[in-house]
């Protein structure tokens, strides 16, 4: 859903009682809106009695929080050492060469976001990726082709 200050406020209120509530609030906002709009900064700062600079600093410090909405499909591709040893970098090349999909960006049609992550804890079955929250092992070009074309694949449930 698109950003809505009233909804965002109610989310902030739901979590603000927690000790150290910043991250739980940011996660909840991102879960709901797909990203954290900069309009969240004063809302959170007010609720937690922190400065806007502190909240802004926190949002930008953590890689997870997006500053704009993601594509419909989000692929978090692992590019850490164990997945490197299994060829994840050639998958990055393949995305670019075969599909024109850049890593750490959203396609122009808004369908696909591919992001770099460092380790998904699936290092014995690499290359690994989280595709819309579903962990996939032994990721190959065939599977990524299906994802890029918006097709289903028998190695994914959804």
């Amino acid at each position: 859903m698109s950003w809505d200050d009233a909804v965002a406020s109610s989310i902030v209120n739901e979590y603000k009682h927690l000790a150290g509530a910043t991250l739980p609030i940011l996660h909840a906002l991102q879960e709901n809106f797909g990203y954290v709009d900069k309009r969240a900064v004063p809302l959170i700062a007010d609720a937690l009695n922190m400065s806007k600079a502190e909240i802004f600093g926190a949002i930008t410090f953590y890689h997870d929080f997006r500053h704009e909405p993601a594509g419909q499909t989000v692929v978090k591709l692992c590019r850490a050492e164990a997945c490197q040893s299994m060829g994840c970098e050639s998958l990055v090349e393949h995305l670019k060469n075969a599909h024109g999909v850049e890593i750490n960006a959203t396609t122009e049609d808004g369908r696909l976001t591919v992001e770099t992550v460092y380790c998904l804890g699936n290092c014995a079955l690499g290359p690994a990726a989280l595709i819309n929250g579903e962990l996939v092992g032994r990721v190959d070009e065939d599977l990524l082709d299906a994802v890029c074309k918006g097709q289903s694949h028998d190695r994914m449930a959804g």
Binding site: L23, G121, N122
Partner: protein, 523 residues
């Protein structure tokens, strides 16, 4: 009469990543079609990850394994009477007789893959909460002494004696103390924490509760990395059910002790695994590393005395309390007592979780357990201990897995991860990546780390392009980072870089004809 036969299909994320849910669904519908009564239990993984999805059937002789199973195999498994362990190409025999599994010393992982991870009853039936029951009858000092006597050292990487840390927190006077579990498991090539949290979460809960009883802390936090959504759900459910069964709450296990827990998600920052950065993050701030002293044990979360321990450290406590410090310390070598859950990963044929007493050689793990590379090409390097660990060549494989022995070879054990590379790896690229990773993940507090790592990337680019005169600069940068960084992020980034340069000098000196097929063939 057909009684219901127990079938185990793992819910571990690694098993799910290769289709375990689809296999479970296929088994359920095939059984229904055949009018066969089955009970499908979603267990943790046995750790033989190349065999996932590994399906087990309970028989009179024990659990029989089939794997790796795909949904397409399910009909033929029923055809072959797999419910009575019938012959089938995927039949692997008794799970616990598979050499990879049989030759381990599973203490911390004793229940993982065996039990239903979200059944308190199953946990108790397999010895669960015995350690906590004992702990509530002891004084805090006696518990801490037991932990100290076991020789347990922190499994998060630094290997600091757990008993000493607990003693400091026990001795601190405060109105509130905290137990924080470091479940940030950021190292590439590691997944032991994840497997335990998904496969036997009550063990972690029990370990944290014992820590709370020992030092007088009533509140705990598990700081879990956000890259582990499955572990998150499992922990939430485990905490909920443990609370319902009164193993968490105002009177844990019917004792006079109170202890409760919350899980908090990280947000994709490697540095949050560093304990003071983690505490800043839990407090809701940017995760800038704190200078020590003060130690977190004295001034930790919200300024209160805090135990920060790794998942493995805490999850080993119940075994130690239940079986005694001596039984634990009987395993291991030198000053590394007990067992290490080793994670064998990367380009390896048989990857997975291997819990062994300290002292096993890298070679035994790679060759006997791993069975060589996944690609079938020859082995070239292993990185031990995550992104801040050393790259070792063949000639160092006889090094025992022991904190001091690894340090003597200028490497480290870290969290016990081993990442295997075949002969297509370019160690100059890996050295460059070590700097790149540090540049991206640095908290930014100190110059040697923040600027040094960026300079390292630029300089490695020149080396890779053929300017080998720049190698001396890499050496200087590494010394600066080692000596002048505030924490081990900047301080240990030189370890992978220097080990790559020392053990694989050719890779730093072969521009511009790098990585051509002829080049590889000539080696």
């Amino acid at each position: 009469m057909s009684t219901s036969i127990k079938i185990y299909v793992p819910r571990d994320a690694a098993a799910l990543s290769v289709g375990a849910n689809r296999v479970a669904t296929a088994i359920a519908s095939e059984a229904k079609k055949r009018g066969q009564q089955v009970e499908i239990i979603r267990n943790g993984s046995r750790g033989m990850l190349w065999l996932e999805p590994l399906v087990e059937v309970e028989t009179a002789k024990g659990r029989v394994a089939f794997g790796p199973v795909t949904p397409k195999d399910v009909a033929s498994l029923f055809e072959a009477n797999f419910l009575t362990a019938g012959a089938h190409p995927l039949n692997l025999g008794l799970t616990e007789e598979i050499p990879f599994f049989k030759n381990q010393e599973r203490l911390t992982f004793a229940r993982v893959g065996v039990i239903d991870p979200l059944s308190v009853d199953d946990y108790i039936a397999h010895g669960g909460f015995a350690g906590l029951k004992k702990a509530v009858t002891m004084t805090g000092a006696a518990i801490v002494q037991e932990v100290a006597d076991s020789g347990l050292r922190g499994r998060g990487g630094a290997g600091f004696p757990t008993g000493i840390k607990w003693k400091t927190v026990l001795g601190a006077e405060a109105d509130q103390k905290y137990i924080v579990c470091n479940a940030d498991e950021g190292d590439s090539g590691t997944f032991a924490d994840r497997m335990l949290m998904e496969g036997d979460p009550y063990t972690l809960i029990e370990g944290m509760a014992i820590a709370g009883v020992a030092v007088g802390a009533t509140k705990g936090f598990i700081y879990l990395r956000s890259e582990y959504p499955h572990a998150y759900q499992t922990l939430l459910e485990a905490i909920r059910t443990a609370r319902a069964a009164r193993w968490l709450g105002p009177a844990i296990g019917g004792s006079s002790y109170a202890f409760d827990l919350e899980v908090r998600l990280g947000a994709g920052a490697y540095i949050c695994g560093e304990e003071t950065s983690l505490l800043e993050s839990l407090e809701g701030k940017r995760a800038i590393v704190r200078a020590k002293p003060p130690l977190p044990a004295l001034k930790g979360l919200f300024g209160k005395p805090t135990i920060v321990n790794n998942v493995m450290s805490l999850a080993t406590i119940p075994w130690i309390m239940a079986n005694g410090a001596k039984a634990y310390a009987d395993f291991g070598m030198g000053r590394s007592r007990g067992t290490l859950p080793i994670q064998l990963a990367g380009n390896i044929k048989q990857g997975g979780l291997i819990e062994k007493a300290f002292g096993v050689s890298l070679r035994e793990i790679i060759e006997t357990y791993g069975g060589g590379t996944h690609s079938g090409r020859s082995f070239r390097a292993v990185q031990v201990g995550g992104p801040l660990g050393a790259y070792f060549p063949e000639s160092l494989l006889d090094t025992p897995m022991d904190y001091e022995a690894m340090a003597a070879k200028k490497g480290l054990l870290g969290h016990g991860g081993m990442v295997i590379f075949d002969d297509t790896v370019d160690l100059a690229q890996q050295a460059r990546f070590a700097f790149e990773f540090c540049a991206k993940e640095s908290c930014g507090k100190c110059t040697p780390c923040r600027i040094g790592a960026t300079r390292g990337v630029e300089t490695m680019d020149k080396v890779i392009a053929g300017d080998t005169s720049k190698l001396a600069l890499i050496d200087d940068l590494c010394h600066l980072m080692t000596d002048a960084s505030l924490c081990a992020m900047g301080g240990l980034t030189p370890v992978p870089v220097m080990s790559a340069m020392t053990h694989f000098p050719d890779d730093f000196n072969r521009a511009p004809k790098r990585m051509t097929p002829e080049n590889l063939a000539a080696e």
